[in-house]
Amino acid sequence: MKVKKLQLVLMAMLIAVPTLIFSQAKITGLQIIENVYNRETGNDSQGDLTMSLINSRGDQRVRKIKQFVKDFGDMEKSIMFFVSPADVRNTSFMNWSYDDAGKDDDQWIYLPALKKVKRISSDSKSDYFMGSDFTYDDLGDRHPTEDNHKLLREETIDGENCYVVESIPKDEDYMYSRTVVWIIKDKSIGLKKEFYDEDEELLKTLTNKKYEKIKGYWIILSSEMFNVQKDHTTKMELANVKLDTGIPANKFTERMMKRGLK
């Protein structure tokens, strides 16, 4: 009798355990990443961005930027005006990025001392954003189809239940060999991300320090990228965020770049 009971219990476990696992693993790595990529952040946004660059000796440079972003459906346009330091005030930068993965961003810069708008073109999207430790891709530009994603495990950090997803680029020449990201399950926000270089060594870690729900959207307000190999840090802080204010489409033109901040 006893033996039979035990057998039953064992059988029940053998059936039940895999079922439990499968029921939880329904979501794939790709889906998780797509959820993050497609997370609604409003049609347009504006805010004051403070970018602090800190080198290995602890020297710090702070740049204040006023930025405007608008989603045009198949493309996203953004425009930024430097507020400080004084010698670059009103230098402006405009970026048009396209949903089409094959199409490179268009970028312009306006130098008030030269009174000219110039196009800047760069080789690849691995370029660093304004001398920071962030690349354009790191800032959320990278399309999910460019990598193979794999859900590694689930983990709780900072009291948040997270998926841990590993992404390996399909293009072997890409600057990262792989990235590992911790994504908060119910918010589809990345909490932490590790970037590994071509030699599989840890290159950078990204930590999102502050995120808030504004007008119903989850917005990251403070993040920090630490380049482990160069011992260099970039802090990005966003303040006075306004969403869906209906920024006019003609805000994103060369004319507006030249006009600058009042």
Partner: protein, 772 residues
Amino acid sequence: MENLLNKLLKYPWLVLVVFVILTVGFFKVMSSNSRMETDLDEYMPQNHPAFVYSNQAEEWFSIKDGIIIAIENQDGIYNSGTIQKVKDLTKALQKMKQINKDDVTSLYTADNIIGTEDGLDVKAFFKRTPKTAEKLEQLRTNVRNNEMIFGRLVSSDEKVTVIIAEIEDDVFSQEFYQQILELGNSFQGPEIIHVAGRPIVEGTMALLGPADMKRMVPIVILVIILVLLVVLRSFKSTFFTLLVVLFSTVWAFGLMAVLGIPIYAVSTMIPVMLIAIGVADGIHLYSHLHLFLIKNPDATKKEATMDMIQGMWKPVAMTSVTTAVGFISLLTSQVYPIKYFGLFTAFGVMMAMVFSLALIPAGLMVFGLPKWKKQEKNTDKNKSNFASTFSAKIVKYKYATIIITAVVIVLSITGIGKVWINSSFLEKFEKDSDIVLTDKFINENFGGTSTLNVILDSEEKGAFKNPDILEAIDRMQQVVDGTLQVVGNSFALTDYLKRMNKVMHADSQKYNVIPESKELVAQYLLLYEMSGDPENLWKVVDYDYKKANLTFQLKSDNSKAINSAIAVIEKHIPELEKLNIELKYAGSGYKGLVFTDLILKGQISSLLLSLIIVIILLSIMFKKFIAGLIGSVPIIITAIISFGVMGLLNIPLSTTTALLSSIAIGIGIDYAVHFLERYKIYATETGDKILTSQHTMQHSGRAIVFNAVVVIAGFLVLLFSVFPPNRALGALVSLNMFTSFLGTVTIMYLLLFVSNIYFNTRGLKNHSERKL
């Protein structure tokens, strides 16, 4: 002292066994614990202001020495094979664990800042190797149009391109050096791969110098053994004389190992000093013994040994103590390896004394007296006759002796004026060696293999965005580049700004100047940061634009070249001071220059200090100040002639050659003390000046000749060395031995003779009147 030595004579076996056991112990410690110091920075006095500043600046701007790998293709580099090699070699270097990925610069990694119709483009020259003729031609055009690259990474005849891998000071090892050379070799053909740069030169030197020494030293010792056999005419004597040198060397290095002090490059001079100085004790002891036995052929070994101890322990102890004190004066040097060199050589000298006074008598007691061949009698007669005539001739032609000495000294002093310090590593190699030829090849095609960093420092934040300041720097660059043949080119923040200004104005040459406003400078820099690799900027300026690094590339690492560049740069200091900018220097080449200067100054001051100490010690030992002065004559003559010959023969002072003047002290004291002591003894014995002279010449003079001949013969072997600094070493040691010897038996003897010390005035007068 004498009692103690005589007591030891009763237990010769015990003495031998104890010393052998202790030596074996030191040898074991030495062979298991010794550590060679290869990081040249460890040699520098770290708290010297010039080094402190340079080290700081090196950290601010990541100034590092670069390994230069040149890829040469006689048919031009613009073909897919050669370009592929540039890429592969760059990647291979980036993968090496000793090299940071970002520290490799080549055509593959370089940024090309170019102007387009409507803006600016910063991109790589190529990512995938261009395959078509059209794409290769495009690459050629891009390089030609970029003055930041053309002539710097690609030679102007387009046949050579370089890859520069910067490395930290402490990563260089023998293994790494081999890896780099093997890597270079594996890319050989049809292109020719050349490997150069300061780390490679340092590496080759660290490898070649000791390897050459390892090969030459056994031959030196062999020659010394042979000559010792000839002069001492006894295997036993030769054996024990060498044993003294060997044991003292083992003890010196053994003690270093026990105390955990690493072996520096200058430490390899310790055995050189100990060989030159250590054989003297043995020769003098055996020489005394020999003379005693000629006079007393029936003496027992105990009698002979006791006479030897009685007659010789004092001069042996005196010479050793004064020599050791002379070396200890090197402790005043600011350079640690030199302090250690002085300290451990002094220890070795003292040990050589202990072994000479304990081991040699013990050896005599255990193994019996040396057996000399019979027919020597005649030659000895001849020798004693020769000694007498020689001393008489010196006195007879005293004015000639004095005049010749004076002429030699005057000549030497003019030579000293020409002595120059050279911190060059490259000039230590043969003119036709691979390393020199490669360096020459790269210098012909590019800016230069050596660098001098000029650090500009301002109190004001953002100073280096100010066009006035930038223009002053640009002017300085153009003047220095333009006036000096040895300066290949220069690189600074100004080069970025001029390039950007030009590019942003449709590549117009008119705009290849510093932008006119501070705002434009700031905005260009922001633009560069946004589109290029901002890391590059931090090699020429700091975060706050308060400090800037200006790099001059020199075609020679020789001190004259660096000094000539510094002389032109210094002319710009007043202009920069008006703009509140301070100018200082940094980099390994500059540090080498300061370091050599420091060694030299330390060497000269310690030489003077030890001279004073020696005069005082000799005055005390011989109880007469005049004796101290006379005793210092061989040292002074040796030192003056040594430096004089270097000046006249254009041998520059370097760390090793400067140290050689210490030999002057060591040897000079030996000769002077032995000679003075004998002279004093015979003076009291005979009371006759002429007899005293003859006896002294026959006794001390003879030993001094033996000593000089042995060491000169040994060190002349080094003239066949393949490493030029070792050749200079051999020649200078031999020269110092020779002048010490000659100075002692001629001018010092003459001074002694005419000074009349050790003779009472009355008796002396009679003698002089009678004999002369």
